[in-house]
């Protein structure tokens, strides 16, 4: 403990603390702009300057480490004058018409200013109005006039990227976004350009964010003190009335998010203390407020699909279920709350109906025990898009391991974003296990993998003397433990996978859809491809399916639901209702309860009999008729069976996950251009998809993200045909 004096007040400082931290802890206010508690000290904005006894020039409190006996003054007339002058210099470049307007007080929501400058670049038109740190500083320091000529930089607003706009006329060059991108996210997308008065924030070579390796995590947007970076969806919503902490259910990591609520509407979702990814940041509010969301019960009648009251819909459903009883099949999404899943099990159990396993993989889920990962470690990541699908998990791992871990990516489809890894191996699909074997223990050099001995040797050197942890997505490939020193962790992108797998099931997805004993399908948050006609199809969802149904029950999203979710580490997390369900939608668990009430059934805990047994996929050999191999990858960018890119703007440009990916040579061979529609023909079925040509794909493979028709052709040989439209 050290003692320092700030403004005559005796304060205690811990080792390594900065003067700013001590002052903030002791309730002494020092104005800051570039400082952020999660970022390294920067000392750029020069607003936190303080005087230290024995030093003539002022020092920045954010970079000054406290030492015993320091005497600090934070509020002398000289400092005040310097701060005011510095802030005015910042304002001489930042639009400030409203900040220093003498009529600011008269200008309220109902009586807006019509001065041109205020309309063009005043605070009223800024998305960050009333949330802006610069605004706060100007009010705190009571700046009423500007000594300097206003020099508008007149830069063009960058609107080319999904999710957020960048208006660098509002940028104060505090460097927070850059530090967040480097220090917190390790994405290294942003950096300063040019120098002197021409300094700008941007990506390498000024490429669009989409091409520069940006993960669109939104960390830069949330850390920006001004309106320079703004979420496009919520830019006109103003500061939130309240925030509700809940758990994001878009993947299995279950990040804590704050749902911002204004006027009974969810405006956006921001990370709660820690980090989130593009889904948590930019998908939740658009899903909840989606214009195509169905919030009223629908029924198919003689004159088509019409809106009905809940009672009528429930009556119809209970009648149909009573009719079909054990010839009913329940298919449901793991993206439901635990309560909803339990209720479905109970309802299905009391009807003796069949329940299908809700996920693709055939490996029993195991909790990801992060506590087991420690010491000097080599993390081998197999066939998993760590940056795209598990970016927050990757951050957690990196934070936990600091620089003791080396990362090796084994993936035939390794993306540019896998550059975080120390080395990337791109073996032929199906030989991943052999590579892991040769890296972890005594294994034969896998010649058939197509990887050179030098590359294997380099990876072996990275692994040597370290504990090996293999992380893999089991829906893509199954990796088994190859030696004692190695541990494997299957990663499940679906939330609640652990909990639901423990409850068991009766059959797999495919088995249910091909079974002849099912007359009635009850689909909760899933959109499979129906191969035949059913007696009754009941859909409980947020969006309309693309097949015929008899009854549609509008479900609430997780943002409108109370409940629990179980994350990848088997921790139970609270899901909180931020707003009342929109329209007449109801949470899933309550819909099922209402059905049971209508049927006079008591819901008791039930579970299925079968458990998941590990099954290794076999890759069928290609032949002359079917020269390509179809690889189906899990798509972690879905909500209730809908691909995010299909329903949300921006995700289509970020993901391209509704296209079949091929490389240039394959495209040339089959005469396909980028974006052309192609029929993918397998032995059992065929489907049509646009193609996306990508240079990083291996030869003779077609990559498709989880797609109902593609599932049946997984790992099968296929051929492509150009579809004339």
């Amino acid at each position: 403990m050290m003692r320092i004096t700030i403004n005559g007040k005796k304060c205690t400082a811990r080792y390594g603390e900065t003067v700013l931290q001590v002052a903030q802890r002791s309730g002494i206010r020092i104005p800051t702009l570039c400082h952020h508690k999660d970022l390294s000290p920067y000392g750029g904005c020069r607003l936190c300057i303080v005087d230290m006894k024995g030093k003539q020039t002022p020092l920045t409190a954010c970079t000054l480490t406290a030492e015993d006996g320091m005497v600090i003054k934070t509020d002398t007339p000289r400092l005040r004058k310097l701060r005011r002058s510095t802030l005015q210099l910042i304002l001489s470049e930042h639009p400030s018409a409203c900040l220093i307007c003498e009529r600011e007080k008269d200008c309220d929501n109902f009586q807006e200013c019509i001065k041109k400058s205020a309309v063009t670049f005043g605070c009223k038109s800024c998305p960050q109005n009333n949330k802006c740190e610069l605004q706060d500083l100007v009010r705190d320091m009571d700046i009423k006039d500007l000594h300097f000529e206003f020099r508008y930089r007149n830069l063009e607003t960058q609107r080319d990227d999904p999710f957020f706009d960048r208006d660098y006329n509002l940028c104060v060059l505090c460097g927070r976004c850059i530090r967040a991108c480097h220090e917190i996210r390790h994405a290294h997308t942003l950096e300063f350009h040019h120098r002197g008065p021409k300094t700008l924030v941007g990506t390498a070579f000024d490429l669009p964010h989409l091409e520069s390796g940006c993960q669109f995590c939104g960390a830069c947007v949330d850390i920006c003190p001004t309106g320079a970076l703004r979420d496009r969806f919520s830019r006109y919503d103003g500061p939130p009335e309240r925030t509700v902490k809940t758990t994001c259910m878009l993947c299995s990591i279950g990040c804590a998010v704050d749902l911002n609520v204004s006027n009974g509407k969810i405006t956006c979702s921001t990370p709660h203390k820690d980090q989130i990814c593009a889904r948590g940041r930019f998908a939740i509010a658009p899903i909840v407020n989606h214009p195509r969301r169905i919030t009223k019960p629908l029924m198919k009648k003689r004159d088509g699909v019409i809106e009905v009251e809940w009672d009528e819909a429930l009556e119809c459903v209970s009648q149909k279920l009573r009719e079909h009883r054990n010839r009913t099949g329940f298919l449901f999404s793991p993206q439901l709350t635990v309560e909803a899943a339990e209720n479905i099990y109970a309802l299905g159990g009391s009807l003796s109906a069949k329940l299908a396993m809700p996920f693709l993989s055939n490996v029993p889920p195991r909790p990801l025990a992060l506590s087991e990962i420690k010491g000097k470690a080599a993390m081998i990541i197999v066939n998993t898009d760590m940056v795209g699908d598990y970016s927050v998990l990757l951050l957690t791992l990196r934070r936990k391991m600091k620089d003791r871990a080396t990362f090796i990516v084994i993936d035939a489809f390794a993306r540019p974003s896998d550059r975080f890894a120390d080395t990337v191996l791109k073996p032929n699909p199906g030989t991943e296990q052999k590579i892991v074997d040769v890296l972890c223990g005594p294994g034969r050099f896998p010649k058939e993998s197509g990887i050179s001995a030098a590359e294997i040797e380099l990876a072996q050197r990275l692994v040597k003397g370290k504990k090996v942890y293999v992380l893999y997505d089991p829906s893509n490939s199954v990796i088994e433990k190859s030696s004692k020193s190695c541990k494997t962790f299957p990663l499940f992108s679906q939330p609640n996978a652990l909990r639901i797998s423990r409850m068991g099931f009766h059959c797999t997805h495919e088995e249910m859809l091909t079974s002849k004993n099912i007359d009635c399908l009850y689909l909760v948050g899933v959109a499979p491809k129906l191969e035949r006609k059913y007696g009754t199809v009941i859909v409980q969802d947020c969006f309309l399916p693309d097949f015929d149904f008899d009854v549609f029950l509008p479900a609430a999203t997780f943002a409108e639901t109370d409940g629990q979710m179980v994350d990848i580490e088997d921790r139970t997390k609270r899901v909180r209702r931020a707003i009342e369900p929109i329209g007449r939608a109801m949470p899933d668990d309550m819909i099922v309860e209402a059905i049971a009430r209508a049927m006079d059934l008591r819901l008791t805990k039930k579970s299925g009999k079968r458990k998941i047994v590990t099954k290794r996929a076999t890759l069928r050999k290609t032949n002359r008729a079917y020269p390509l191999r179809l690889i189906v990858r899990e798509n972690a960018y879905t909500y209730r069976g809908k691909t995010l890119s299909a329903i949300l703007r921006g995700f289509d440009r970020l993901r391209h996950d509704r296209s079949a990916w091929i490389n240039e040579n394959t495209a040339k061979k089959f005469g396909l251009r980028d974006g052309a529609r192609a029929t993918i023909i397998g032995r059992r079925t065929s489907f049509i998809m646009p193609v996306k040509i990508s240079s990083y794909l291996p030869q003779s493979t077609v990559l498709v993200f989880d797609h109902p028709s593609a599932r049946r052709l997984k790992n099968e040989p296929v051929r492509l045909e150009c579809t004339k439209s």
């Binding site: 000290p41 020039t57 970079t63 480490t65 002058s85 000594h147 002197g196």
Partner: protein, 610 residues
């Protein structure tokens, strides 16, 4: 190893200066031609031709010196060579026409050390300039090179070395003048096994070329100094950061490094003392701010060259977070002499607070442009008038800018100011790295301040608002003044903003950027007032404030001006008085240069004629 030519085999040596200035004036062609001519006269066995580092007298390049006589030939041309070889080398009659002539009325000065430019200098850092081949380590060793290293490594403890450097009173030559011994001691006391030393050769001041010259003329002295420093601080890795605009310096440094390594004076187990030290050359990408130590460190780390707030100082957290000692090229070059001749000798040179010598690059409106090394405490007058030979064309001296864009202007009435760190700071300027830009009566001080400020605002890294925006607003204001749009209150505005920039900027660049404005305001306030109130430029420089007029009484009506005017602004018939149409005049000044001296009728006037 290739056998190097023995220097003592020859009767005569021709030392051809191969500093950048002379090389630009074809020094290498001269050398080749000399060798050819000597071979033609069959003198190759008797006379050796050697390229040396910069002699300093760049105004008179290319320079050839004949040793051992010390005859100084200047402004050599290819066509002079046969004559020179015939007369001097064969017949022993020095060629008077090629010697230095101080002024048309004076006799030529044959010997180098009799020339005023060299006479007053005191060479410590540049002790080997012009006398050895910088690409040959043997010559450096021949002039007692690496003797100090031997003393430091075999006979002195690290503490003793630091004590010696402290006692010498050597202060950092990069600008701020921090005592070098103390800096080393601070770094030595820091805990940690891995430390670094850096040689700062990122010389970015306009008109300064001291570091370049040292690296080009005597790279081994820097290497030796660094190795001694490394021993004192117990460091095993050093970096030399050189601008990439100095290709010759980089080339010679690299040659010197490989030769030193070959001789066991660098690398593993130096001189058998079990001490390892290695130097790496890093080239900067040409940012002025990278001369600032924290920005330089960031640049070596491969990051954008932007400074960070000190403390922590590099001696605590420097390169890759390790304790780092960073000194200027000139500072390092001083070290071997301090060790070999002792602190007492070194501290006998200079003033009470500033010891030793300092190199200045003398440029601008001065007769003898070049590089001079003088003892601390010498007056400005001695440098400018005795060494520099005064102002060309008999014009009046006005001011001298010391310390580059970070320094200030020192006016005429302070010419007798003894030069040391404190007196310059007191005068509002600074020692800086040693640039000296001399200005004559034809220089507008507002324009000078604008020029330097424009340089700093463009070179500002853009990190902190006082420097990024403050300098920009100052340039706007000054620019306005030179365009005749100055306003009442501009001077007070400049003073207040300069104060803010000086006090609240992050690094040295911003903290010193207002110096040119503050000093010119202090010493030439009347010029600012003339610009603002009368819209008049007293020095007749600011284009918008002057007009060209033809004096009725003097014009002879020769029509030369009218013929040469590019914008047809001059009207008049032969033998009649000509007039300039101010609306059409673009103020290019051609008329003033073409007007025959017998008339001398075109004049500049300020304020501008409407």
């Amino acid at each position: 190893m290739k056998r190097r030519r023995k220097t003592e085999e020859f009767r005569l040596h021709l030392l051809v200066c191969a500093g950048t200035g002379c090389v630009a004036n074809h020094a290498f062609d001269i050398k080749e031609e000399l060798q050819k001519e000597i071979a033609r006269k069959k003198l190759s066995d008797e006379i050796g031709v050697v390229t040396t580092g910069c002699q300093g007298f760049c105004e008179r390049g290319p320079i050839v010196i004949v040793q051992p006589d010390g005859i100084f030939y200047q402004r050599m041309k290819k066509k002079d060579i046969p004559h020179l070889v015939e007369e001097h080398l064969l017949k022993g009659r020095p060629v008077k026409e090629l010697m230095y002539i101080p002024s048309p009325r004076e006799a030529p000065v044959p010997k180098m050390m009799d020339i005023e430019f060299f006479k007053h200098q005191r060479l410590i850092i540049l002790r080997n300039r012009g006398r050895l081949d910088p690409e040959n380590i043997d010559e450096y060793i021949g002039f007692n090179g690496y003797q100090a290293l031997e003393i430091a490594l075999t006979r002195m403890t690290p503490e003793r070395i630091i004590k010696e450097v402290k006692a010498s009173g050597l202060r950092g030559r990069g600008g701020a003048g921090f005592p070098t011994g103390m800096k080393w001691d601070l770094c030595r006391r820091e805990p940690g096994r891995i430390k670094y030393i850096i040689c700062n050769g990122d010389e970015g001041d306009p008109g300064a070329f001291m570091d370049r010259s040292v690296l080009e003329a005597d790279p081994h002295s820097v290497i030796e100094g660094m190795t001694i420093g490394a021993r004192a601080i117990s460091v095993h890795k050093g970096f030399v950061y050189v601008r990439s605009e100095y290709p010759l310096a980089v080339k010679r440094l690299k040659i010197a490094l490989s030769q030193a390594e070959e001789y066991g004076l660098l690398g593993k187990d130096i001189l058998g003392t079990n001490f390892d030290f290695d130097i790496e050359v890093v080239q900067g990408a040409g940012a002025f701010v990278c001369g600032e130590e924290t920005a330089l460190i960031a640049s070596i780390e491969g990051k954008v060259g932007r400074p960070r707030q000190r403390p922590p100082y590099p001696s605590e957290k420097g390169l890759w977070g390790k304790p780092t000692n960073i000194n200027n090229v000139e500072t390092w070059a001083n070290v071997p002499m301090i060790i070999s001749r002792g602190a007492k000798w070194f501290s006998s040179i200079g003033t009470k607070t500033s010891k030793g010598t300092k190199i200045f690059s003398l440029v601008g409106k001065i007769n003898n442009t070049g590089l001079v090394e003088v003892p601390m405490g010498i007056t400005m007058r001695e440098i400018i008038y005795d060494i520099g030979g005064g102002i060309p064309q008999g014009k009046e001296f006005k001011a001298v800018q010391t310390g580059g864009p970070s320094g200030g202007c020192i006016p005429k009435n302070m010419l007798d100011l003894p030069i040391d760190y404190e007196s310059l700071t007191q005068a509002g300027s600074m020692m800086g790295s040693g640039g000296m830009i001399v200005m004559d009566e034809d220089t507008c001080m507002v324009d000078v301040a604008r020029y330097f400020l424009n340089f700093t605002q463009e070179e500002s890294c853009g990190k902190c608002p006082p420097c990024r925006m403050g300098t920009k607003h100052m340039v706007y204001t000054l620019d306005r003044k030179t365009k005749g749009k100055g306003r009442e209150g501009d001077i007070q505005f400049l003073e207040s903003i300069a104060e803010n920039v000086k006090l609240s900027s992050l690094c040295g660049l911003g903290q010193t950027a207002p110096h040119p404005v503050l000093t010119t305001l202090r010493y030439f306030r009347d010029e600012y007032e003339a610009h603002i109130k009368e819209k008049r430029c007293p020095a007749l420089v600011c284009k918008d404030l002057i007009s060209y007029v033809i004096d009725d009484k003097l014009c002879g009506g020769c029509t030369v001006c009218a013929k040469n005017c590019p914008s047809d602004a001059i009207s008049g018939e032969p033998k009649k008085i000509h007039t300039i149409d101010q609306q059409k005049c673009t103020k290019c000044g051609i008329c003033i240069t073409v007007c025959p001296p017998k008339f001398n009728a075109v004049k500049k006037v300020s304020p501008a004629v409407k």
